[in-house]
Point group: C2
């Protein structure tokens, strides 16, 4: 079959997105061709607008369309607490708890010597620069994996000498899970971190 150049380009574009394989890409491309022209123009425009209007907050490095971002510039947030996360997606996850009222600092990754990501590749200098007498606690909420733990250790060694309280989010059994299926590392952490009830 002599293929249609712009159709195969479209399929290729979709394939290059994360989590989209050959079949999904083809289905999406055919869907685009079935959509109204106005809808495709809207999709195309929203892609550009998002890319053009969204950048990083110069304070916390979260994604934002104004600088400083809504959280950094909010009067309702508790500016004495900083929560350090790896990624903007982690801010969204924290916000879904509706409990945390402090500010954030986004590292944009975790220390990973194997991938060539050292302290200079992360927003660590910028984090240290934010620490002053107004900040009473830094909660390190990097992922509970090898890189996240290493980053957490590294940060706590840098932050403690600055006289700030440094805490780490708890590791343990996820709510609604089953002891029987818990992996041993998680169970060990849950046991170590047991509390009086």
């Amino acid at each position: 079959m002599q293929y249609i150049e712009s159709l195969s380009q479209l399929i290729e574009q979709f394939r290059s997105l994360p989590g989209i394989g050959a079949k999904s890409a083809t289905r999406l491309a055919y869907h685009i061709l079935k959509m109204d022209k106005a809808e495709v123009e809207k999709l195309s425009k929203i892609l550009l607008t998002a890319k053009e209007t969204i950048g990083y907050c110069s304070v916390c490095f979260n994604l934002t369309d104004k600088d400083p971002c809504y959280i950094c510039s909010s009067e309702e947030r508790d500016s004495t607490t900083l929560c350090v996360v790896e990624d903007p997606k982690d801010v969204a996850a924290m916000e879904r708890t509706r409990e945390y009222k402090g500010l954030y600092h986004i590292l944009h990754g975790s220390l990973s010597p194997l991938e060539g990501i050292g302290p200079n590749e992360l927003k660590i200098k910028e984090l240290l620069a934010r620490i002053n007498e107004d900040i009473s606690e830094v909660i390190i909420a990097t992922n509970p994996d090898v890189e996240g733990e290493a980053t957490s250790m590294y940060l706590s060694r840098l932050l403690k000498p600055l006289g700030v309280r440094v805490t780490r989010i708890a590791h343990g059994l996820p709510m609604g899970s089953d002891l029987e299926y818990a992996d041993e590392v998680t169970l060990l952490k849950a046991l170590e971190n047991r509390r009086e009830i």
Copy 2:
């Protein structure tokens, strides 16, 4: 969290695409924000270009960027045989066999009274108009499901009086499958359609 308008619009747009749920849509949106601006512009442009340049062939109603399409206007195809399929994707599937050398006719759906799709919603008039003494065979390759079978029956009743040979693709066990796991309808069809070897 005060959300970023253009980010949530982007997530919503991705969610409206088939097979993309809330999590995939979010992941895709964050991916877009991480892409270079030039790449996003390219994606945006390719979407528009595909929609603008691709239409339907006025002969077979396949997707095409020239009219008549490559297949209809090819001198190498056998113009005595028409293969009737439901959807442009089915043409791509047939072409992958690299065996079929005839032409196509795309119905753009199958008869489905429950969804209000009757003969007038499909390219059936246009199919009948293509039948002349040059066409010796019409292969009906609608899907082997209830609607596809009904469409096949309906078409064969219309086509046979025109003096053309009407055939239906075979139903049976898929290659590489296992008798043990075959559903009974498929197995029954495979038995009914058994051939001398």
